[in-house]
Symmetry: C2
Subunit: 336 residues, 2 copies
């Protein structure tokens, strides 16, 4: 990387191939978000990125951690969404578990050979890491706690994406506990205490001074997601773009997906957060039709408005311009 | 400051005059924590610090913000602590409001003229800032949100102590809302967007690389509290020192004081967090005898174990040694 900025994989729409390619072409490292997509869709995205840039890029996969989920709690939550079904005019989806085509996607990346494959929600076992290495692919694991960093280091990964509590979207924790997640700066130093692996710092970074901050604190690069969501290349929905212009707080919730994720607080979150069970991705599939309908209707109050704690700093500018600006700002901040 | 480290004011015991003087004498800026003390006690602490060092130091005052508190909720919470009274063998205290001898302490600092007076829980009005300035004293205000930064800038303060969500002890917010507090790195950049005032970054910083991180991100200094609590100069209780050796998560709670504060999760927090009302300092005075009894009994499960999110990095070494080590680590991290 010429500029130590990784474009965060933003599953569910924003990480379009145009965004991935623009980040890499500008000197950063773009990431395809394979989550929620079919193997064929991911294959096409890889082709589309390669058509736009010769530079390195990465692919992010959801590790298929299956945590215990109570069927009764899922059913009860589904019933509590009857009013939403009525007001958006669509039925809820089937609250199914899915491994997100795990084996198929592992096979795809082994053949397509992106420069990096990163993992979210768990750590790949050593044989998977070795298979990636055998194909010349670096393996990164996203972690949210020192204990997870130790597991990932033992599995042989090449770098850790250290995700702080301030990050938008899902917390990548291997388990979905109620423990308060740790913020990036203390987490980064706690993780450095247990491993010397290179660290990609993620969460709440939205400008070059933020990049400089994590580099000085010991990271090798900064992963930025939210601050790329207003770029023309991103697939961010129109109502979500509009929500970024406001000043509402963000919060962690399981209301949309059954797993803790950070978004701008809206009506759906306020009304359903307390009742939402731990059941991922079952609740993701349950609420998907409601969210799609709200999105089509341009209603920000029914959408998962994923955003990190510095979302107000996001700018509506081309991705290449932002990556280069952040690189210049970081260099200036590091040479006082 | 020779070393850009401020010793955080740790009210309730840890910030002993010996700690304040050691931090200043080592090249940082020590802070007396006037909160919960009488004017006479604070006067004696100032004298004790001056007897140990000629260097600059600061005094921190609690701004007497009186937020609405429901008497019924306070009474109900008091009743719910009957089991604690029985098991610690002491009655709860009187849940009174107090302005913490505000006028007396303002008069004291105007006469004693420490280099800096910082404020927590609110912003002093312009005439108070002007009175400090007229006496050659700098005024700093602790803030937790960009809106608070604007208020403090308008009041004419000289610097902002920007406190992130990762900080141990009380969140210094002007109001005690349920909004998720913002982590230090994004908060620092959001605050920089509304004011050019010098920033002292606070929360979760426990080593020189952490200091370097916030300096690169735009702060002028780092305020460190938790990482000074195991020093021999600190008045940290024996059971709290023992709790630092563990690995329990921290969490925010109103259980001990009626205001959101971060501590190591223990039995008292788990059992009483959900029922605790917003009523500060009433609940502080209500639970004080219970906490004192638990402290005397060496029972960490009945104490407010205030600690920031990086408390596991705290080291049992003399304060001067830590300040100098952090200065050296920060310099090394900033000159790669």
């Amino acid at each position: 990387m010429e500029i130590p900025v990784v474009g965060a994989p933003l599953a569910g729409g924003p990480s379009m191939p145009a965004l991935v390619a623009a980040v890499s072409e500008a000197g950063g490292l773009g990431f395809i978000a394979a989550g929620y997509q079919t193997v064929d869709e991911v294959r096409r995205e890889i082709e589309q990125v390669r058509a736009k840039t010769q530079r390195p890029f990465g692919v992010n996969l959801f590790y298929p951690t299956q945590l215990p989920a109570e069927e009764a709690a899922i059913a009860e939550y589904a019933e509590s969404l009857a009013g939403e079904e009525q007001s958006y005019g669509v039925p809820c989806g089937e609250p199914r578990w899915s491994d997100d085509e795990w084996e198929g996607k592992l096979g795809l990346v082994a053949r397509a050979r992106p420069t990096v494959v990163s993992f979210t929600f768990g750590c790949p076992e050593s044989p998977i890491v070795e298979r990636l290495h055998a194909n010349g692919i670096a393996a990164w694991c996203t972690i949210t706690a020192p204990a997870e960093a130790k597991i990932a280091a033992a599995a042989g990964v090449d770098a850790l994406v250290v995700q702080g509590s301030e990050a938008g979207g899902h917390q990548a924790s291997f388990n979905d506990t109620d423990e308060a997640p740790v913020a990036l700066l203390p987490l980064l130093r706690l993780v450095r205490g247990v491993t010397d692996l290179p660290i990609v710092a993620a969460g709440g970074i939205a400008c070059g001074e933020g990049v400089a901050g994590v580099l000085s604190a010991g990271a090798s690069a900064a992963q930025i997601g939210t601050a790329l969501m207003l770029t023309p290349e991103a697939g961010t929905s129109v109502p979500q773009r509009a929500a970024f212009a406001g000043d509402a707080a963000t919060g962690l919730t399981r209301a949309f997906s059954g797993r803790r994720a950070r978004g701008i607080v809206n009506r759906f979150m306020r009304e359903h957060d307390a009742a939402a069970p731990k059941a991922y991705p079952q609740i993701h599939y349950l609420t998907a039709p409601l969210r799609a309908a709200a999105r089509s209707a341009g209603d920000p109050d029914g959408i998962n408005l994923w955003a990190g704690q510095a979302y107000q700093l996001a700018k509506a500018a081309p991705a290449a311009e932002l990556i280069q600006r952040w690189g210049a700002e970081a260099r200036a901040a590091l040479r006082p």
